[in-house]
């Protein structure tokens, strides 16, 4: 369909220029909002950063004080004829300015941990990634074949799906205590939580995808003489493989959402440990930096998988695409998931 210049065209694509503007804005708008709140002194800024404590006994330089308290103390000083404190409007410590977080994104990787046995940020991240990887891999090794089986054979579906349907409503973190009791406090129970969070959804989603496979193709193959086994391996699996691949990408995203809970179980570890420690030290820039790293890793993984998928399944491809073009398609939601 031809692009339309109408901003509100129903399900119509916009011209290249307008599309790109919107892509930029989708990231720029939240960032601008954050900048406004951080850098324009009369927007929000509920605190005062003390520049000169005056003669208020407990004020100190660089201290953050609530506006109300600051005004009250200064009133007291004025009435008593003492020197008043000076300060500038500031945001609470839990909302650092964008440039602080940007700095932290670099320095957090360069700063050695405070305690000798604490991990570096990159070590924490790697540990988290390995938990996700093993949880997701174990889930897929069982879930993928089981899902395909359920999608193919009604018998398998009737035997397993009702129970899985029930089990998937049980929140994975609820099994934390049990997992620790069974598997100790280190990585095993964390991987188990990711597994529980992913596996049951995975079987159902993949079974459904396989069931959506066009039955006319199956019939066409039958009339060409395909046996049951050939139907499975030459029609059912290749026919749903692209959709399964996309399901797996979405499921991997879900696996990440279980990460923090999983890492809190037993001995806190990975990026969660890093975030908790930095919070304790009140290094909120680092907390933001760590949270953003999770987003960046998630997005980058999915992007790489999208690009890989485009190369693995040439029949779905509209043409050879570079990683950069994949990224553009990916950001502009006109690609078909």
């Amino acid at each position: 369909m031809k692009p339309t210049r109408d901003w509100l065209g129903l399900r119509r694509e916009l011209p290249e220029g307008r599309r790109n503007v919107l892509v930029v804005f989708s990231f720029a708008l939240p960032l601008m909002l954050w900048c406004l709140v951080s850098y324009v002194p009369w927007i929000w800024h509920p605190m005062v950063r003390i520049a000169d404590p005056g003669e208020v006994s407990y004020f100190q330089k660089e201290m953050l004080i609530e506006k109300k308290v600051f005004a009250a103390e200064n009133r007291t000083m004025r009435e008593a004829g003492l020197r008043q404190a000076q300060g500038s409007p500031a945001n609470p410590i839990f909302l650092p300015a964008p440039h602080k977080v940007a700095q932290a994104l670099i320095t957090a990787f360069q700063t050695p941990p405070r305690l000798p046995n604490e991990p570096w940020l990159h070590e924490s991240l790697l540990h988290s990634i390995s938990i996700i990887f093993w949880g997701f891999a174990l889930s897929s090794i069982i879930g993928l074949p089981l899902g395909i089986l359920c999608g193919t054979f009604r018998a398998a579906s009737r035997l397993t799906e009702p129970f899985i349907e029930f089990f998937r409503y049980l929140p994975a973190p609820a099994f934390g205590a049990l997992c620790v009791a069974m598997m100790g406090i280190h990585d095993a129970p964390k991987i188990a939580i990711i597994f529980i969070g992913t596996f049951f959804q995975q079987v159902l989603v993949i079974a459904n995808t396989v069931r959506k496979n066009d039955p006319a193709l199956l019939e066409a193959a039958q009339t060409l003489g395909a046996s049951r086994r050939q139907l499975i391996f030459r029609v059912i699996i290749p026919g749903s493989i692209t959709d399964i691949y996309n399901d797996m990408r979405i499921l991997l995203g879900w696996a990440w959402t279980y990460l923090i809970v999983a890492e809190l179980i037993g001995a806190t570890s990975g990026i969660t440990y890093f975030i908790n420690q930095q919070g304790r030290y009140r290094n909120y820039e680092n907390v933001y930096a760590a949270i953003m790293m999770i987003g960046v890793i998630g997005l980058a993984t999915d992007l790489a998988l999208a690009w890989l998928g485009n190369n693995l399944f040439p029949w779905k491809r509209q043409g050879q695409k570079s990683l950069w073009e994949t990224a553009l398609d990916y950001i502009r939601p006109d690609y078909v998931k």
Partner: protein, 297 residues
């Protein structure tokens, strides 16, 4: 059946050489035989008879078209012939043996596009051959010949989504023929194509049929298509689907586009159209041609 149809002169009287042609066809062996075929669908509102007591036979290298109004059971019939559905009663014999389940001896081409989207044109055509146990090299060289035959040699490595509707159906024909079926059964294969492409595909199909030893059962609801392609036209009526008439098509071969306007062609078309009931009721004096033309001309 309207009076105007009955008044038409019998083509047999018109052309003795036509009768000779059909006598020759009737000496050939029977490939497909259908005996007292019934199909009843069990639905929520109770049983529904889709086909009733259908019997016919198709002889070797014959081109038979099946025509009838929508819902008269054409697809139901071919699904049973293909072995994809089971008949309620009756027999389907291929070369004298009862068919059970789908098999490569009956090549199918459906109205919807059923190429495997993940396989190239070549691999699609190779599918049946590889399944049938041919080595990859043999399958490939045979597939390429069939692709050449349907005129898509330069598209052997294209994927189906890069082809037009007509090209997809040509690949589907090549894929079905590659298995060397006893009979090629086609369910409105050109129904989704535009008029021009459809014309091209029809003459293309005739060409293929002349080159290859294959019997064709072709379903359509386009009268002109039926007349242009067939040796015989099987006219089905609906509610429930039943055989109304088997018309021998006297139009000589090879057929050209101009022949579609010849009196013989028109009389066949009228005959087939006239026994096709769900048109408007014919006024006395009006011809079947004027008032009922499901093919759209």
């Amino acid at each position: 059946m309207s009076a105007s149809v009955l008044e038409l002169p019998d083509y047999r009287e018109l052309a003795p050489e036509v009768a000779a042609r059909f006598d020759k066809i009737s000496e050939r062996p029977v490939i497909l035989e259908v005996r007292n075929l019934n199909k009843v669908f069990e639905s929520a509102e109770g049983p529904r008879q889709a086909l009733k007591e259908l019997s016919f036979e198709v002889r070797r290298r014959e081109f038979v078209t099946v025509i009838g109004p929508s819902g008269c059971g054409k697809s139901t019939l071919i699904r049973m012939l293909a072995g994809l559905d089971e008949q309620s009663s009756g027999q389907i014999l291929l070369d004298g043996r009862e068919v059970s389940g789908p098999g490569p001896d009956r090549g199918m081409v459906f109205q919807g596009y059923t190429l495997f989207p993940w396989l190239t044109v070549k691999k699609n055509v190779m599918f049946g051959l590889e399944i049938g146990g041919h080595s990859e090299a043999v399958a490939e060289s045979e597939a390429l010949q069939w692709i050449e035959m349907v005129g898509l040699g330069s598209f052997a490595n294209a994927y189906p989504n890069q082809l037009s509707g007509g090209m997809k159906q040509r690949v589907a024909i090549a894929r079905a023929l590659a298995n060397k079926p006893r009979i090629l059964i086609m369910d409105e294969p050109f129904g989704a194509l535009d008029a021009q492409t459809r014309c091209q595909m029809q003459s293309h199909l005739i060409q293929i049929w002349r080159q290859v030893d294959v019997t064709i059962l072709f379903i359509t609801h386009d009268l002109e298509e039926a007349c242009y392609l067939s040796d015989r036209i099987m006219v089905l009526g609906s509610n429930p689907g039943h055989l109304m008439e088997f018309i021998r098509n006297p139009v000589p071969r090879p057929r050209s586009d101009e022949q579609c306007l010849s009196p013989v062609f028109l009389s066949v078309k009228k005959k087939a159209g006239g026994v096709d009931p769900p048109g408007p009721i014919l006024e006395p004096g009006a011809t079947a041609e004027d008032s009922h033309d499901p093919g759209g001309g």
